[in-house]
Symmetry: C2
Subunit: 332 residues, 2 copies
């Protein structure tokens, strides 16, 4: 394996000059630059990253810590992050916390060990609550989850507003007894719940909300319970794609059709939402944009460590489909 000194020898320059052309266009004459490039080419030289990182104390690596890669929202976000990262000659280390604060802590420690240039994090609730930028030796940008009090760069959906709009839309459709199933473990679930409560209160309606672990199975179980009760709700709303999936499963098991027996709506426009039944009304998130905005924020923060804290809030988009068409002459 060729080393920098081999290149230097062949190009008849010093290693410093080689390093300089490697680094970019700093103070070397075009002639030597060419000679060096040619030597690099000829020897198929590739700099040793470990050595470079040791000496320069930079890794050009970013950590991406998501709470559940199986959630298509995060899949799409990570895709965007990777695309942009590699375009900016950065590497990405991907980690999955499964909403487990311990794992999250482990990975954050790992990031410190790796001496990453920065981290993108979708924090668990406890991590968010105690989040201090100064606790980390690297820049952190939050994605998807952030609350009012947190001082940190972040990219999020307008969760409360989106939920408010979705619920208000359902109310306008004629639904009254709207039940809301939301993720218990995330700030996002809470904020969407908040929007739900506000919307219901504005229209003088009683709320019927339930927090569950953000998994398909938990949502399915909770919905089954709800449905079994004597007083069936008008409509069911899930606070994210996984939960919505659980709701659909529960309805199917109970042999309930939407919108015939109940209205249905949720968050996240997943591939299947337009295919089941008459299509499901959802609040769509601009997932790729969210990912892109996040890494841009991080790259800027890395470049300018002391720039003011920024928060990017993207707007959800309502996609009306058949699942929320109120049935004429519906009983309750």
């Amino acid at each position: 394996m060729a080393q920098i000194k081999d290149v230097a020898k062949r190009a008849e320059v010093s290693v410093a000059s080689v390093s300089r052309v490697l680094a970019g266009h700093t103070g070397v004459t075009e002639a030597t630059r060419q000679r060096v490039l040619e030597a690099i080419e000829a020897l198929d030289y590739r700099p040793d990253l470990a050595a470079r990182r040791l000496r320069s104390r930079r890794t050009d690596t970013i950590g991406l810590i998501v709470s559940d890669i199986r959630n298509p929202f995060f899949t799409e976000v990570s895709r965007a992050v990777e695309d942009m990262a590699y375009q900016n000659r950065m590497r990405v280390i991907l980690c999955n916390t499964d909403e487990d604060p311990d794992k999250e802590g482990f990975y954050l420690d790992l990031m410190r060990d790796e001496n990453v240039s920065g981290v993108i994090l979708s924090p668990t609730l406890p991590a968010l609550a105690r989040f201090r930028m100064s606790d980390y030796s690297f820049p952190v940008v939050l994605v998807d989850r952030c609350d009012r009090e947190t001082t940190a760069d972040a990219v999020v959906l307008d969760n409360a507003d989106s939920a408010y709009r979705l619920i208000t839309y359902l109310i306008k459709q004629g639904y009254r007894r709207i039940a809301f199933i939301h993720g218990a473990a995330s700030a996002t679930g809470r904020q969407r719940h908040e929007g739900y409560v506000t919307a219901m209160a504005t229209h003088g309606l009683e709320t019927q909300a339930q927090a569950v672990p953000a998994t398909v199975e938990a949502a399915r179980a909770a919905a089954s319970e709800l449905i079994r009760e004597s007083s069936l709700p008008d409509a069911l709303v899930g606070s994210n794609g996984l939960i919505l999936l659980g709701l659909v499963k529960a309805l199917r098991e109970a042999n309930l059709q939407f919108p015939e027996h109940l209205g249905l709506a949720g968050f996240d426009d997943l591939p299947w939402t337009q295919l089941v039944g008459p299509g499901i009304t959802v609040m769509a998130q601009p997932t790729y944009d969210i990912g892109q905005a996040t890494i841009e924020l991080l790259l800027q923060r890395i470049a300018h460590p002391s720039q003011p804290v920024r928060r990017v809030v993207l707007r959800g988009e309502l996609r009306e489909r058949g699942s929320s068409v109120r049935q004429k002459g519906s009983a309750n």
Copy 2:
């Protein structure tokens, strides 16, 4: 930031001893071990990975190069890989090729630069065709895609057999004019096509297959075309989850119901397959197992570089659902 010599000083030992206890249980007395551990604890010392990697020439990093992270199959595989990797104190660098051989080449070069301990790759067709283990300075384990000629560790589904079984099942159900839409760019699509052809030939039936880029949109377009033709097939089969999704979309657009107007089946048991219409019959892949088997193979290969090449073939599982129930008195 504390360094190893600070630890050595505090524990009143040499840096070599500290390094030894860090490395494991080699030739240090329990007493000094304790002193060192205590010092490490007290100083909150964490070894510098860049320095370690430079000197030891090992990175404990594996590269995971998948062709499309948005395909739930690969999402699940990567989850398994990560779980296992971190349990074995390895890091994972995730890369997406989008089926683009150029990107793939770029990432493989990157892996070389990173001096990874090993790589898990789902190769594009051209990469597979010219694959030579000896072209790489690191062990490579293939996942999902591999053909008979390739000499490499690999974990794959029994693609041809699974397809054969799925098609045979449909034939037994009474379907005759079975159209097969498969991914053009992957070995997997080809092999499943092969199984389809064999099954049809065995029963003296004519084939009607079409290769498309493995995207939802391409599959949708191809299926729309097929449907528009005068002679409608009996049944449609998609060679993977993305393609199956495209088929469902096309049928919906054309207002065709399954199984009433056509039978439908495919590969990959995605979250939504049991929810659309009467549920879709699929050949399910043991995705998590595939991921797990893959990284296990890689870790073993890393530990024993010259062990014989191994191939793990996992069996697909047929999940019969409503979409493939032949209708009595169906016209053609």
